[in-house]
Amino acid sequence: MGLHTKLRIDLRQIDREMKRIVKYDKDVPKDSELERSLLKTIEAGGKRLRPMLVLVGSRFGDRKDDSRIVQLAAAAEFIHTASLIHDDLIDRSPLRRGEPSLHTLIGPANALYVGNYMSARVVELLAQVEEPDGSEQQQPFTAVATAELCLGEYEQLEHAYDYDLGLDDYLLKSRRKTAHLMAVSLEFGARAGGAPEELCRRLYRFGEHLGLSFQIRDDLLDFTASAKQLGKPSGSDLLGGQVTLPVLYALEDPQLAAEIRTVGPDTSPAELGPLLDKIRVSGALERAERFCDAELESAREIARSLSLYAAHADLLTLADELGGRKF
C-alpha cells in the first residue's frame, strides 16, 4: 500500500489540480511549447510528498475548504518541481526519474523559464487568497520565499569536493536544501486549515526532523539502491562532489579518507566502484542510519505530543513510511 493510500489522499486529485492551474491560465497559449512542457512535467509524476504534507497539515485545523487546500497542495508541488528543473540544469543531469530531463528536451533557457513560470504562477495564485476575515495576510507568500532553499544550493556549490566539511555545515545545508520546504509545506497546510500558531510551529519542527531524515535516507540510497531504482548510477552524489553524511563518517577512517580525497571532477564512475564497496563495509552507512533514526524518533516524539489531534496518526505514518523507504 502506498503512502498516499495510508494517508487517505487521492494523488490523482493533486495531479488534476496541477494541470488545471496550467490550463486555466489564459496567459499560456494553448498547445505552445510552454504548455506542453508543463503538462509533460506534471504527467512525469513524482512522490508528491510536499502536497501530501500540506494536506496532512491542514487536518490539524478546522477549516474545511477542500478545494482551496488541494490548490495549495498543488502549489507546493509547483515550487518543488520548479526547483528540480533548475537543479537538473545546475547538475547538468540528462535524466530525471529515468526520463530525459526538461532542459535536454527544450534547451536550458526554456527549461529555466518553465521553472520560473511555475514559481511566478504560484505567487499569482496566492495573491488571490483572501483570509476568512477578508484581510490581506503575509502568510500565503511565506511559502514561496524559497531563499533558504537557494542558500542550501549555494552551500552545496561552495563545498563541492570539500572533504574538510564539518557535520554542522552538512546539517545546515541539508536543513536549507531539503528539510525547510518539507517543514514549510506542513506548516503552510496547518495555517491554511486554521490551526493555532503554536501548533503550526510544532508541525514545522516535526517537518524539519522528518526532512533531515529524508535527506540522510537519500544520502544512504546513493550507496544502497540500484541504478534502476535511483534513475541514475549509484555513487552519483560522491562523483558529483557532494559530501554526504555516510561520506563524512567514512572520512574519519584515515585509509578511506586518503582514497575519498582523490575523488574529483575528473573521476570516472568505473574508478569509483571499488571505493563505494569499501565505504559500504566501513560501518559509515550504519552510523548514518542511526543518525537518520534519531531524527525520525525526534519527529515521532513531536507527533506523539499531538495525540489530542486525530491527524497525529498521519504524522506517525509519514515517519514510518519515509524512514523505511527503499528509493
Partner: protein
Amino acid sequence: MNTVYQPIRYFVSPSRGASMNDTMIREAQERLQAEIDPITRIRLDPQKAGLLEALAVFDRCEVEPLRKPGLLAVYMLLDAAFSRHCGPLELDDPGLNRRILDGDYLYSLYIQYALKCKEEALLRGLAPFVKKVQISRALGRSGSVQLAAAFEQALTGQKEAK
C-alpha cells in the same frame, strides 16, 4: 487665537533633487546588501537610469518619503532577478550555475523583502506582470522588461483601492 498650520513646502532645485535621489539610492542599496547572505557573493550594481525612472514613478504615485527606500530596494531586487536569468544560456558556460542560483535567490529575496517592508499589496499587484515576463521569455519573445511601468500600474491600483 487659532493658529492655522500650513504644510511646509520645500522647494527642491534640480541639483538638490538629484542629491536626494542619490541618497535614496545609496540607502536602498545599503539596506539590500545587508539582506543578501554573504555566501551568495552577490553585489548589486543597478543601472542608475532605471532607478531614477522608478523614483519618478514613486513621485507620480505620491508615495510617502519614508516608504521610498524600501520600495526602491524591492524594485532593485526584482530587476536584478530578471537580469540574472536574461539572455542565452549554454550548458558549457562556467557561469551558468551562478546565474541560475543568483536569479532564483534574488527572486525569493524580492518576495521576502517585500513582505518585510509590508508591501504585500505590491506583491499582489506585480504577480501577473512577473508571470507574463516568464511566459514571454519561455515563448522566445525577448522584449525588454518594463518594470517601472509595472510598478506604476501596481502603485496606482493601490491608490485607487484606498
